[in-house]
Amino acid sequence: MSEPDRKPAGRADGGGRRAGQALLPLLRPAMRWETGLAVLVLAIGVFGALASPEFLTSGNIFNVELNLGEVAIMALPMTLIIISGEIDLSVASMLGMSSALLGFLWARHWPMLAIFVAVAALGAAAGLFNGLLVTRLGLPSLAVTIGTLTLYRGIALIILGPNTISNFPAPYATIGVLGVPHTNITWSIAIFAVLAVIFAVVLHATPAGRSIYAMGASTEAALFSGIRVKRIKTMLFVVSGLVCALAGVLWTFRLTTAVWNNGIGLELNVVAVVLFAGVSIFGGKGTLAGVVLALLAFAGIQNALLLTNFNQEATGIVIGGLLLISVFVPKAASAAGRLRAAIRLGGQP
């Protein structure tokens, strides 16, 4: 995907930097999308607490965490993939496929550890297949992962058929009820927190992370500067497969149900969260801090609306509205900046 406006915007930015050198560095943090998200999260917290005494109770927060867990986990690799300029729409199907395999093998009395290995291998293989189709055959990831979305969901159906497996043993089956001991944190959110730190370090503090931004901004330039674009992108898809397998296991245990259509349709929720976080659909832009804030905002809004007796399924209106805001506000801001820069440049000589 190419962004037609990127070049002029970049030029205007350069002009703006020269013109307002003294003031801009001070204002920049306040103008970041992430700052807006943080304010939004706070506002939702205050609104929720005022609107319902239940909002900030530990029981309610635990439920919010439960509902958020898998989407949050899958949003991590999705963020990296979108920043690198690709997209993975097969995440929910990989979740479903992992869930189906988990149920299938458990019904055949495999030991749980062996099942985990098998599920992880399946997830990695699914991701590798995506990655190879995208990088080695040069196919657009949007099309490829719509294809594998159908394919992997189909494989889930083949593995498990119309059966439902739900007799999982206690330490696993209770993750939907019990959190990490002595805390109010669900296992899924605890795992998410650990993964988020790892992903943030990789994305923001390693050469590999920088090259992910670089290839998202310009694949061509990244290639010429010696970045192994294909290898890194393949790796990202494999990681996505692995993480979705993990999400599939968590989903299955949380609902204590392995069924082929687990998590169906979740892919667009994951994409929506990541885009709402300020990650550009064209790649090269976005932060994991933004994604964490976006997840909090989403979960908070959904829950606040639930507690205020708004028709919960209609929260899509709010989610969609926020998504629109997330593309239009930065657009308007950059247009205003360009205008300002143009006026300054015009006034100087």
């Binding site: 995907m1 190419s2 962004e3 037609p4 406006d5 729409l89 189709l133 055959l137 040069g138 196919l139 657009p140 949007l142 099309a143 490829v144 719509i146 294809g147 594998t148 979305l149 159908t150 394919l151 992997y152 969901r153 189909g154 494989i155 159906l157 083949i158 058929g161 119309p162 169906i264 349709g265 667009l268 994409v271 929506a272 885009l275 659909i281 064209f282 028709n311 399924e313 209609a314 929260t315 899509g316 209106i317 709010v318 989610i319 969609g320 509205g321 998504l323 629109l324 997330s326 593309v327 239009f328 657009k331």
Partner: protein, 347 residues
């Protein structure tokens, strides 16, 4: 949909048969038609019942809505955009239009159709305005409207549903009546697709969509009113989704707030299987319709062959990947051929 559509009409008279076959093979839709033909022939040879009127009717009934949606989606996709909101628009239109029968007994069917198209058009216009004027990525805009339109639908519908008893018989008969076993609906949709394909192929504004898809920058420099064309494509896609909603209502008779959920990716899948490049610039509405037909045929063929329906999705997904890979292969070979030719001219 006849195979002859694929053959370019401007074929000069007296061409040798070798060149004729070459041209036919080179037509973009050839691959998908061949796959469909082979698939149908194999199925018939194993189970002749597949060719029965009843089966054909069943397949056509299941395909028409998707083929129609694929027409609108094709217009959007060839211009290097995407419309993810079609499923939600279909759902909203299906409920609102069909609920008119209950609210205004005796209302004319054409009025209901107009209402459905109008609802779809309004959604499409909203999409088009945001993408064209806001210059923001259509994937994000239509992902947002997917949620918003579905949310509005849920708010309006609540827990209610339109039930078959409130719908007049003549409305329910629309997808079922036909001539020679072919539903009128399929004929009308085929005509619409033909008209759409002709528009995309032969009208200036239609060609402009391809130009924008091949190279947005070049299209702008060439003076194509990019914004207006994008707007038109989205408006058309919305109106078509609205029409599809009314047809959906006539076909399924019971309409709640979940109508058309998840259709967006299936429609895009059909479009891509039909040879429309996901990043625009090539493909045809006829191809997209055949793509929808192929995906619909697989389901029925497996059923007729007695193969468990659990194989449906995996086969459809596999086919989709094959179609994408084939498309890429053709594109690569075409570029190579063009390069060879221009190199030949140069020396």
């Amino acid at each position: 949909m006849s195979v002859t559509v694929a053959a370019p009409p401007e074929l000069p008279a007296g061409t040798s048969s070798r060149r004729l076959t070459e041209r036919v093979v080179r037509v973009r839709e050839f691959g998908i038609i061949a796959v469909l033909a082979v698939f149908v022939l194999i199925t018939i040879s194993i189970q002749p019942r597949f060719a029965s009127t009843q089966e054909v009717q069943f397949i056509l009934a299941n395909t028409t809505v998707f083929a129609l949606l694929a027409l609108g989606e094709t217009m959007v996709v060839v211009s290097r955009n995407v419309d993810l909101s079609v499923g939600s628009v279909l759902g909203l239109s299906a409920y609102l239009s069909s609920s008119l029968f209950g609210k205004f007994p005796g209302i004319g069917i054409p009025v209901v159709f107009l209402a459905g198209i109008g609802i779809g058009l309004a959604c499409g216009v909203a999409n088009g305005l945001m993408v064209a004027i806001g210059r923001v990525p259509s994937l994000v805009v239509t992902l947002a409207t997917l949620y918003i339109v579905r949310g509005v639908d849920i708010l309006i519908v609540g827990g209610k549903e339109v039930i078959a008893q409130t719908l007049p018989n003549s409305f329910i008969a629309i997808p079922r009546d036909g001539v020679l076993g072919i539903p009128y609906l399929a004929i009308v949709v085929a005509a619409l697709i033909g008209a759409g394909a002709y528009y995309l192929r032969s009208f200036r504004s239609g060609r402009d969509l391809y130009a924008m898809g091949s190279s947005p920058e070049a299209a702008r420099l060439a003076g194509i009113p990019v914004g207006r064309r994008v707007f038109t494509a989205f408006a058309a896609s919305g109106a078509i989704a609205g029409l599809a909603g009314v047809l959906w209502a006539a076909q399924y008779e019971t309409i709640d707030s979940s109508a058309g959920t998840g259709y967006e990716l299936q429609v895009i899948a059909a479009v891509v299987v039909g040879g429309v490049a996901i990043f625009g610039g090539s493909g045809s509405a006829v191809g997209a319709a055949i793509g929808a037909l192929l995906l619909g045929t697989i389901t029925s063929a497996l059923y007729v062959l007695g193969i468990s329906s659990i194989w449906d999705q995996a086969i459809a997904g596999f086919l989709l990947l094959v179609a994408i890979a084939l498309d890429r292969l053709i594109a690569v070979r075409l570029t190579a051929a063009l390069r060879r030719r221009s190199a030949g001219v140069g020396t």
